[in-house]
Amino acid sequence: EPEVTQTPSHQVTQMGQEVILRCVPISNHLYFYWYRQILGQKVEFLVSFYNNEISEKSEIFDDQFSVERPDGSNFTLKIRSTKLEDSAMYFCASRLTTAFSGANVLTFGAGSRLTVL
């Protein structure tokens, strides 16, 4: 079964450092997403990406965050200068269909745990 893969599974970084989280979405999917889950809290939307540009972003996704699809397979989330409150599990997700197909199912990766010290 096709899956979304994420690396690294766990990253520890110092406050103020840059972090890049990587994702390989399912190959024929068209829409890509990043979500995060702070320990004990709900899964929160960060950003959606389609046709090589951001289609929507949340209030959390400020200027410290950026996304990129540098080649045909990878989808990355960069945090420029990490803060303690960025510590969370970050999930990448992808979706094949357009909204008009009648389904809106996202497939999630296993997540990357980010710990900021």
């Binding site: 979304v4 829409y31 997403y33 979500y35 809290q41 709900k42 899964v43 929160e44 939307f45 959606s48 389609y50 289609s55 929507e56 999930f91 997700a93 979706r95 357009t98 909204a99 008009f100 009648g102 389904a103 809106n104 199912v105 996202l106 497939t107 999630f108 990766g109 296993a110 997540g111």
Partner: protein
């Protein structure tokens, strides 16, 4: 901004009995609803979904009910099995929103006792 709420953080049921997980939403523009299951150290896994044009969708042991007037949906698992023990997230979206983002509830941790 809690557009999707799961008011029960945890639920414990006996193996073989019914598990009922509840979810409420506030945004009447939502028209597609999903349930995801999550094990520790894994990503959410899609379980079942329902469009707002339906009030029930069934897939094996899992049934989702939607009450649009009450802005409420529920997931029924019958019979419950120990392997169903996980955190269950309700999610909502606007189907014709091209961004297609899902808004998640806080999750309900289900524990099925043998």
């Amino acid at each position: 901004d809690q557009q999707v709420k799961q008011n029960s953080p945890s639920l414990s049921v006996q193996e073989g009995r019914i598990s009922i997980l509840n979810c409420d939403y506030t945004n009447s523009m939502f028209d597609y609803f999903l349930w995801y299951k999550k094990y520790p150290a894994e990503g959410p896994t899609f379980l079942i979904s329902i469009s707002s044009i339906k009030d029930k969708n069934e897939d094996g042991r899992f049934t989702v009910f939607l009450n649009k007037s009450a802005k409420h949906l529920s997931l029924h698992i019958v019979p419950s099995q120990p392997g169903d023990s996980a955190v269950y997230f309700c999610a909502a979206s606007r189907l014709y929103n091209q961004g297609g983002k899902l808004i998640f509830g806080q999750g309900t941790e289900l524990s099925v006792k043998p």
